[in-house]
Structure formats: C-alpha cells, structure tokens
Point group: C2
C-alpha cells in the first residue's frame, strides 16, 4: 500500500449509482411492513400564543384513526434538542413558539385518513404578537419566548488588540450585511418508520443524518433503554444538515405511537410539513469593519453577528461558534474582535445547514474585501494574495498549521486558469446597454470536522469474508454525498480488494460505535480514518497468513488486486479468497471495529484562541456573470472553483460535491428565501420557493489542490460544505462587479437587482 | 467484579421469556414482507436411481406459479456441505441418492399454489436397488453412491498396546450395540426467507444455527460476494444441530430465486419436508470389547464403530471423531484401539445432533460397564468410581487436565442423594409380578467446544449507550437454549448493569466476526469468553471516566448496580448513565468487538493422541424405573443428574438444559426411531414418530458440581448436550436392571420390551 495508489485518487462512479439512477434504491417512505399506520401532526398554525384547549375528540372518531397522541400520552420528558437543557417539545403546549409547532399526532390506517382527522382537531389558542425581528427580540422588555430569555447563545473571539489595530489602520471599511432563511430543499422530505420488534426492541428506519442522536432521543422519549432502540438509515435523498431535529421529533413520536399500538407507524413529511416542521439556515445580520494599511495589509477586523435562531436552540450554539471563527476569512489578521449571538424568535427554528454559518460570514467578509480593494485601488486578487494565510501563519484563533494550507495554491490556480486580471478587462470590454458582465472572486476557508463543536469520534468496522469480499460499516451516514464510495475505496486500497467486492452497509446503530452526527465535512476525514484503522488490522491478518502460505515474513508480502504476492517476486501469488479462507481456519481475526478519535480542540473558551480544527479546507472561486438589466436575470458564464482537499480519494466524487455545493451557494446568493408574513411562511412549496433548477446548473470547473493533512486518510480533507460559501460570495462579487453596485443583502434576486438598478 | 458475584450464579428467567411464552416472538415463518412468494421443493420420492427427465412444463403453467427453478437455473456450483469437497447438490440429478433429494423448486404466490404445482412436476427416474444397510454399502462390489465410493470417513484412535492389554486382562466382556435414527423433532421446522434489498444486497432470515456457514454457501450458490449477503436469525424454535445443511439448501435456493425475481421468497418446511429434507442422528453399530482385572481395573478396550451417514457427508467426519474419542467413557484406560467409520447409504443423511456421537457410544460403553460389573460381581457404582478419571490422569487421548475434572464429585453426589446402594435393594424389594423396578447408573464425559473438530473462534460485541444501557451481540445463535440470558448475565456482571438494561440482539452476520457454527456446547464457554472480553474494554472506559469524575485512579473504582463508586468509600458514587455520557463526550470507547479464540487442538491425526478439547463436562445419572411387563410401558420414578458445569452462569438455565437434554435422551433410548421401508420413511410425522410428550416429562433433579475451567468465562463449561447421553444410558441400564435383560439396541420401545420378555 504505497503510492502510486491503485484505487485512491481514481475517479470512480458511486458504488450505489445504479440503484440511485434506476430508482431501485428504496427510501424510508418506500419501505413496507404489513400493518403499517400513517401519522400526521396537527400543527399550531399561529406563530405565538398560549394553547388554552385542544379538542381531539372528533379526530379520534374519524374514519381509520387508531390513536391521537397528545403530550399526556408521552412516557418521556417530551423534549428534544442538540445541547442540554433541551428546549424543543415533541408536542407543544401550552406555549406556542412558532407556526409549525406540533400539537398532536394523528395515527390512522392511511395518510388521507390521518390528514383528514388532523384537520378536525380544534386548538383554542390565545394569540401573542409574534416576536419576528431578532434585534427586537433582544430588547430587555421583549416577551420571553423561553423562560431563560431570548438570547440563545453568545460567544466572543478576541485576538490581539482590535482598538490598537484600528488606530493603526490607514483605511477602514465598514458595513452591515444581511442574509435570509434558506431551506434545505432536499428532494426527499423527512420520513421515519418505527417498527416494534417481537423481541421487545424498536427499530426506527429514518431518513436521518445523526442516527445515534436520534436513538438517544427516541429512547428517552419512549422510556426504552437506548440499547433496545435500533436506528437504521435506508437510502437518503439529501440532508445537508437538515434531517436532525425534525427527524428526532418524528422518530420519537412514531416510536411512542408504535410501542403503544404494537404496529409499525410511519411519518412522511409533505413538502409543506418539511418547510414548517424542520429547521432552516440562520438568517444573519453581520456588522463588519475592517482596517488596513495602504499597501493592503489587513490589520484589524471587528464583527458583530446576530443569527436569527427561531423558536428553538437546535444547533445555534455551534453555528454561533463557527460563524465567530470564520468571519475573519482565510487571512492573517493580527487584531480581531468578534461577537456572535443567536436569538430566539417566533419563527421556524434555524440549525445546521451545509456551511453552518460560514456562507453568511464569507459573503460579508468577501464583499468587504472587494470594498477594501476598491477603496485602496488595489487589484482584488492581489489584495487576497497579500493577506492569504500560509503554512506557519496564525489564523483567527491563533492556530498555526505546519502542513495542508493550500490557499495560495488555489488562488494561483484560479488566477492562471481564469486569466486574471485580463478576464476583467474582457468582461467589461463591450458596452451592451442591456447585458452587463462582471467577474467576482472569493477566497474562503472552512474548518473540517467537529473541532471545538464537540467530541470527534467515529466507529467503523471492516469484515473480510472467506471469499475475500469485504463489508465496511461506518457510524456516519451516506446522504447522497458519495461517502460509501470513498469508504469502499479506502478499504479497497488497504486490503487489495477490487471495488466490486466491497459493500458498504447502511448505518445501523447496533453495529458501530456512537459516531456523533454526520456533519462538519468530517465523513471522509474522521470517518475515513476509522475505516483506514479498521482495515489495517484485517490487512495484518491477511499479510501474516499469506506469509505463512508463501513461506515468507509478513513484511515481505504485498496485496495486489484480489491477491497477495511476494514483493520481491510478484509471480509468487495467491488469490485473496484463498488467503482469507486460510486465515479464518488458522484463527486470524478477519473483522475489526475501529474507534477513531480526532485530536481534541484546545482553546480558551472566552477568547476562542487555540487549536480549534484538525484542518481547514481552503478555496478560491471565480465567477463571471452576465446580468440582464431589463429582467434582473443573471447568467453564470464561467465558474472556477479551486479547493485544497488534501487528497481527493475519489476525484469524481469531489467534483460532484463541488458542483452540488456551488449550486446550493448560487441558490443562497441568488434565489432562495423563505418568506414569512406575521410569522407564517408564505412560500412553503417548490412553486413559490425557488431553488436552482437544471437550467441554472453552473458551468463549474474544479481545480484541485492537494496539500495532505496527516489527520485524514491518505491526507484527505472534507469538501462537502466549503464550495457553497465560495460560490455564493463569488457570485455576489461578480454581480456587484457587473453592475457597479454593492449588494449587502442576500439573496440578490432578479427583483432586488431591478430595485437596485432603479434605486 | 470479584466474587461473590451479583448476577453470575443467580437463577434468572430468560430475558426473552415473556416474548416466548406469550407468543409474541416472531419466527421466520411469521415475518411478513409485501410481495413475498412461497416456494416448495419437488422431492425425488425414490431412494436411489437416475433421473432421466424432469418435466416442469405443467408446473410452470400452474396457477400462481412465477418460477420453477431447476439445476440449470442456478448460477453457482449447486453444491453444499460441511467439509470440502462438498457432496450435496441443492437440486439433485441425474443421480438420486435418497428419497428426499430436491429436484426442482416451485415458486408461487401462495404455499398452496406452490404445492399444487410441485405435484405436477413429472420426474422420470430409472430406479436402482437402494443401498440401505451400512455394512452392505461397504462391500467392495457395492454400487458407489458417490464417485469416490461409499466410505465417507474413517478414523482410528490408538493408545498404549491394546493386544498386550487384553492379554493381561483377567476378564473380558464383548458385545455389539445398535442405535437407531433419531429426528431432531424441533417444534419449529426449518424456514428461510430471502429478501433482495434495494442496495444490491440480499438479506436471508433463517431459522438456522450456523449463520456464517449459511452466508458463505448462499454467496457461492447465488454468485454474490459474501459481503453482499446478510443472514439474520429471528427467534428459533429449537435446532439441536439440525438447522444447518437443510437450511443451507433452502437459503441458497430461496436466495437464487429471490435475486432472479426481485421479490422476497420464503421456504417453510412442513413436518414431512423436515423429515425428508433435513439430516438426523447417525444410526450406529458399535462392537465393543473391554478387558479388566478381577478388582475391576479396566485395562483395555477395543471398539469398532460404524455410523450410517446416509446420502451425504454432512457432519459425518466430525461425528466419527467425536464417537472415536468418547467410546472409552470417562475412565482411565491404558490400552485403547478404536476404529470408527461413516458410510454412505441411500437414506436421509445423518449429521449433527445434540450429543454428536456421544449418546451412541455412551450407551454402548455404560451398558458394557454394567455387564462387566455383573461378570465381576462388583457394585456398579464402585466399578465406575474405581476407574473414574481424576485431575492429573490421562484420558483416552492421553490428555491430562490439571483442573476442572469433576467426575468423582458427580459420582459422589449421585451416590449420596440416590442412597446407593440401598436404593437398589428397595427397588427390588417387592415382588410384583407385573411391575418391575430397577435402578440404572451411567457416568459420562463430553468434550466441550470444537476441539479437534475445527478452529474455535467467536466474535462478540458490547456497546454501552449514553444512558448506561448495554447491547450485546454474539456470532453464536440463541436456539432456545438460553444463551442470550447467559450472555446478558456475563455483560451485566462485568459492567455493573442491571439485567433489564441489557439487550442481546439476534445474530446478523454483518455485525460480528465469523464465529463458526453454534455447536459442541461451546456457546457459554467460547462465546461467553468473547462477551467477557468485549465487555472488559468498555469496563475500562467506565472505570477511567468514573475515576476522573471521582478524582481517583481507575483502580480505586468499582461498578455497582447501575453506578460507579469508590471501593474505599461506597458512598461516593455516580449513576452509570452519567459516567457513560461523560465517557462518550470525553472520547473513551464505549463499544468493543472482541475475537475469542480457544486454544487449538494439538494431536496426532493417526492415533488421536494429544490435546483435543479445552475442557470436558463430566456427569453421572441415576434413574429408577418401573416397567409394566404386561404392556412394556416404562415409568421413570426418579432421575438424578449430576454434572460438572465448571460454573453455572444461570443455574435456572442449566437446570433447563439438563431437563431438556435428558428428556431427549429418554426419547433416544426409549421411543424415537425413524423407520424406513425400502428407503422410504414410514413415519415422517408426529403421529407415527413418537417423541416424549409432557406426560413422559422426567422427574429430573439436577445436582450441580462446579469445578471451574480457566478456558471459560467465570469457569463455565457447556451443558447443552451432555445430559442426553447420561440419561439415555442410565435409562437403558435401569430397564435392564429391572428386567434382568441386557438391551443392546436402542430404542427400548414397549414393543421391544415385550419381545424381549417373550424371547
């Protein structure tokens, strides 16, 4: 297993690609168990108020209804959340905190019957004036949405002496930036199916991304020991951070109902349910001030970030930390002060979403870098290059990396491939009165893995059968991102097995160590490391056995494609199936469960100075756009995305992630905005909420940079999230460049473009 | 975790007892998947012949039929077996070797349609005269049932100089003993359900005892890599060694059909199918000769054992070895020669069944010990005691144990509780012309675990959740013997967790190391050791974490019932749930996969001298019977069973095993016999094949002896099989004692008793 690699770095199609494109893949809603019931939640329908009375009698008598679950029927604490003390009830009441609060769950023979009955539940609610503005919610005399007040979480980052920095600065730019609520908009809405087993256990199939978190909450809320709850993840049609809280609520309710009834209970969200009953991306208000010297050296930055957390805490505490740490961008800035807060409002809660605070602050930061360049009259690329973090430099948390800081390489690649600055001239060359062209640049970084957000452990298992085929298990989930394929490649490389002989099974909480949530672009890095570790032990068994068979020490053996051979004499080889069979019968272990633990974050909690992340992904995006000034429509003509991925396990998979995340970034910057009126969502469907369609597909070209990290398998770093922030910021800067207008609020919809052109 | 134990040694009810007695437990035939098809095999119906033509056209056109599978449709080698070269076809032809050979599999929408169609398959078979007598089958000119002849397997045991021994002997007894075919007669017949999954894998639910063996054969015979096949064991209603070959055939066929059709396919044996299509216990012919001195010292023994293996090898090779090793009984005999052979005949094949050759040879040996006592005029108990193996003595394979040889203790306990020899006088005191009483004694030993029969490895997993509950996984199966409860107790003891918080999950081949078959009374010993090992690692995590929390070194911590405490100050305690949660968030591993490997057997393969088993279970049975000389009916008045179990993990479970195995021994000795006529089974149902019913329930009293072995968890040795041989031999000797007639053929049915009384 020495470079050049056989499988690592080779572009391979998804190992489950055929199932996915042929429609054979079964999702949670597709699973069938005889006797299954369908359940639907009755939602509050008002943003704030006090539930005076809930009349479920008519619903109970509705055709097909077998159970109406109310808070009194729940054996557990009726609370879920990410961090204790948990603040989100499964079934709300008496306090109503947002429109989507579930009040009761109707379980019936069919979906239609459940829906009809849910509409017959009468909720008498004394309405409150909803608190919808996050700044208002922070007023001292604002109504308290939760008993402990409306400030969900607040953190500060302090580096150097920001006052001194600004005093020293020759130029200062300052502005306020705003972003909107973005929906996850996965194709498959949330779904769970709880099946009571005949051995007293409960199996919950769930379209989820944090099966262990789900298991724990189901256990507590159903009164079962966690060891009697098994969460299985079928195919999942996207998650992006979304299938956590909502699925926890659904799984706990379905579990409680299933145990009560002794029958399988399924809850499948409609698109409207998904909009109302799951969390979204935090809308942010970012006040940003940057001080620099005339030569472009950035010397100080100050930021105040306010995140609208909605009705419940969800992941707000961690999003606060991530925004806090990333608002400095990928630059060496000696003096920093950042204050970041999340606040409760009477809206759908905000939580984890691909990017996790980074897209919001990257948009603000990169907009301001352009503003600074304009003010200084400097080239935008040169300004970024001049301040770019490199190996050995301290970042915002004063963490110094001695490897794997590929930002400058991404800047260089984009400059070269993008023909900067000549491309700028070409874009602005014509003088078409209707179609305006512009080029935007954005540089960014994103911490990989949990880092300061919590313990970072992952379990994986590798099992070699006597026929030399391999089964890989992992505690992190495949959400469509291609992780099963990457894990298969890692195992294939280490064990010398062809990819066709490797299966990566769907997650089942019984079988691996609690691995925490599938978040933070950590699957390839920390998850891949766990697979790497698990495979090593089995590899040792195979080498030892082959050594016995070839009468050589294990060190003299190498594993080729489905065979073992003598390194000095590759003709001396044995099929791997024979080695595996002999190893079994000789008593060598052929299965291993590994436990991978990333180095702990070590930092000062008051200032956020210290070792926060095990590695960062760095990237530079260039986007060229053409804006139709008559309609406000924007066409992306060119998109270069360069990222330092450490090592691309599967270049095809990395490309897919870059394309997908970039497109989501386009949605964030250009199209997507959950609209509410008096606390009620106006566009809870895909007709009114616009996501990029195939027509908007970006002409993304990925430019890989590979600066390996020793914390990832074969040097790999995650890539699932970073391009989103890069593409969004580059898009914003490109439109601003095209029109000569600074946009400080996302999304820059055609309508807002027209308004800006008029204004 | 020091004695006295909290859970180990406590009599506890089965952890799945409620599910079992309430009927909630779901067996393979109970599982429902929408779209499931039913399949039925068309059997040969003749014992021997050549299949000239198989016409399946009419069956294909039968209502509801979706597929008729013939050998040409099978993608694999169409062969299964225990040891290579495999000799049993899934679908037979052209050679027909026994009545139950499957020729084709009919798959239809319903069971009735499948059966109707199967009966419409026309098989043109040129019949042969079946070879039914094992001695005839060994004739040089006998027709060869398999290409390599009719001798399946032959082994020899040589110790000392048997000729010299007999020359020295002052008394010699010699006789031939015969046993009959016993059916496993489990309440749940064999069943499988193969489900094609949407990720390209195949799940096979099976009432089986060797899930990994099954997986391997399904993979080969369907053409899938083994890593794409998952075998799951639902509740199983008994196996006793039986649910191996037949289930392998059924699983492979159902798997092939399911993959072809993309729908779940189920095969559930009727009772008749179970008799015709599974294996049974070997009928044996045992020629035995024993030489002794006048004082009773046994000096030499010679045995020739012929096992009727039926149509296929199955486990015959290993049963040969086990019979070979055990025919000397639990005695120190310096000179031994044993020849043991298995032979092919045109009958249902014989294979593994509880006892595995030991009941047959124990019956012969213990009958001859009584014969010797009579000839020498010695007390039967004294003769056994005089020759009994003790610590430090060489057994039949010259293996010397320095611990855990509790035979003498079992003899003493039975003598004392049975009031021997006074009980003999009392039994013979009356002189009722119709009802005759007698007392039988039998001593025995049985090797625990695989020993010389193959590699002895087991995988287990232990996972502690953040709520302090525990999930245990094991690669060996719960067949009704109570192993899940014993495993739960072992984990509970080590982790300080109450039994209610422990789940032991059903076996799933994805999740643990290939653990070989659930045979040889090895579950508690080797499997328990694996659970013990897996739990130790997690225990270390809990101790370390509790140490950090209680500010003490881990060595100062002890685990109490669901809490950790300072050994020196038990008031200083923390609930285990808090310790587990903290351990997770601190990064201590809370799950471990252990791989337990018993010490390898080391012996001379020509003479079977050496270290064969890791331990033996020793036992003494006493049975008092009353024979109705008018009807031949036998009533068991008293049954004492003493066994050295090393350590009873769950005394209630051990009692259950002793009772169950003894009752099966009564069936073997008294009632059960599969009858055939011209190679066709005459009594393939429970009306004609008689097993002990509740009316025949033995008044078993178990007398435990606990001589710990260091090879088992807490010293435990297996108990699943040994009492069968002991009870059968004691019964035989009791009837012989009552009537003054030596019975040399089992079963001693009422009819045979009457014949003997007349003869």
């Amino acid at each position: 297993m020495t470079a050049p690699f056989r499988t690592i770095g080779q572009p391979v199609g998804k190992i489950d690609g055929v199932e996915l494109v042929t429609g054979r893949a079964r999702y949670t809603a597709d699973l069938q168990f005889p006797g299954s019931l369908q359940a639907v939640a009755r939602r509050a329908g008002v943003a704030a108020g006090l539930l005076r009375h809930l009349n479920v009698e008519e619903a109970r008598r509705s055709p097909g209804v077998v159970l109406v679950l109310t808070p009194a029927d729940l054996p557990g604490p009726n609370l879920i959340g990410i961090l204790p003390p948990f603040d989100q009830p499964l079934l709300a009441g008496p306090e109503i905190r947002h429109e989507g609060d579930s009040l009761a769950l109707v379980v019936a023979e069919t979906q239609e019957e459940a829906e009809a009955a849910a509409s017959r539940i009468v909720a008498e609610i004394e309405p409150f004036i909803p608190l919808l503005d996050p700044e208002e919610a922070l007023h001292a005399d604002a109504r308290k949405i939760h008993a402990n007040g409306n400030l969900t979480f607040a953190k500060q980052l302090l580096k150097g002496d920001v006052e001194a920095g600004f005093a020293q600065a020759e130029v200062i730019v300052e502005d306020t930036y705003r972003t909107s609520v973005q929906d996850h908009a996965y194709l498959e809405p949330e779904a769970v199916l709880a099946v009571p087993e005949s051995d007293g256990r409960l199996t919950v199939y769930a379209s989820c991304q944090s099966p262990f978190h789900l298991r724990g909450h189901i256990a507590v809320n159903t009164g079962l020991p966690a060891s009697r709850v098994k969460v299985v993840q079928p195919f999942v049609g996207g998650s992006f951070g979304g299938k956590d809280d909502a699925v926890t609520e659904m799984g706990s309710l379905a579990g409680a109902a299933a145990l009560k009834l002794g029958r399988p209970v399924r809850i499948v969200h409609s698109r409207r349910d998904s909009f109302l009953g799951s969390h979204a991306r935090h809308a942010a208000i970012i006040h940003l001030k940057t001080g620099a010297m005339r030569d472009g050296t950035i010397i100080a930055r100050q930021a105040e970030i306010l995140l609208d957390g909605g009705a419940y805490a969800s992941e707000s505490p961690f999003v606060v930390m991530k925004a806090l740490i990333h608002v400095a961008g990928p630059y060496k800035i000696p003096h920093l002060r950042v204050d970041c807060r999340a606040v409760y409002t009477n809206k759908r809660q905000a939580g984890a979403m691909r990017g996790f605070g980074v897209p919001q602050v990257t948009f603000a930061s990169e907009s301001q870098i352009d503003a600074l360049a304009r003010k200084l009259g400097l080239d935008r690329w040169e300004l970024r290059r001049h301040n770019a973090l490199t190996v050995g430099e301290a970042n915002a948390t004063s963490q110094v990396f001695h490897e794997s800081v590929g930002l400058v390489q991404t800047l260089e690649r984009v400059k070269e491939e993008g023909d900067w600055p000549a491309c700028l001239k070409r874009a602005h060359a014509g003088d078409n009165p209707r179609f305006k062209r512009g080029v935007g640049l954005a540089a960014m970084m994103q911490g990989i893995s949990n880092g300061a957000e919590g313990i970072d452990v992952v379990g994986a298992s590798v099992q070699v059968s006597q026929d030399g085929s391999v089964l890989v298990g992992l505690g992190l989930t495949e959400l469509g991102q291609g992780s099963r394929t990457a894990m298969a490649q890692i195992a294939a490389e280490i064990l010398g097995v062809s990819l066709e002989k490797i299966s990566v099974r769907q997650v089942d909480t019984d079988t691996v160590h609690d691995s925490g949530p599938t978040v933070a672009s950590r699957t390839t890095t920390v998850g891949g490391k766990a697979v790497w570790m698990a495979a090593q032990t089995v590899r040792t068994s195979l080498l030892e056995m082959a050594g016995l068979m070839l009468k050589a020490p294990a060190e003299a053996i190498e594993l080729g494609l489905d065979h073992a051979y003598l390194r000095e004499n590759p003709q001396a080889q044995i099929p791997l199936a024979q080695v595996a069979t002999a190893a079994y019968w000789t008593g060598f272990p052929l299965m291993n469960l590994a436990f991978s633990r990333a180095p702990d974050a070590q930092y000062d909690h008051e200032t956020h100075q210290g070792q926060i992340y095990i590695a960062y992904n760095y990237g530079t995006h260039l986007m060229e756009v053409e804006v139709d000034t008559w309609t406000g429509k924007v066409r992306v003509l060119r998109h270069l995305a360069s990222h330092d991925v450490g090592k691309a396990i599967n270049p095809l998979g990395v490309e897919g992630q870059v394309e997908g995340a970039s497109l989501m970034g386009l949605g964030f910057a250009h199209l997507e905005e959950v609209l509410e009126e008096n606390g009620k969502i106006r566009n809870a469907n895909f007709a009114d909420y616009q996501i990029p369609s195939f027509a908007e597909r970006l002409p993304t070209r990925f430019l890989p940079v590979e600066e390996a990290t020793s914390n990832g398998p074969f040097g790999a770093k995650g890539i699932g999230e970073p391009p989103l922030a890069g593409a969004a910021a580059a898009f914003t800067n490109a439109v601003s460049d095209a029109l000569g207008i600074s946009f400080r609020r996302l999304p820059i919809t055609p309508q807002r473009i027209l308004e800006a052109l008029e204004g």
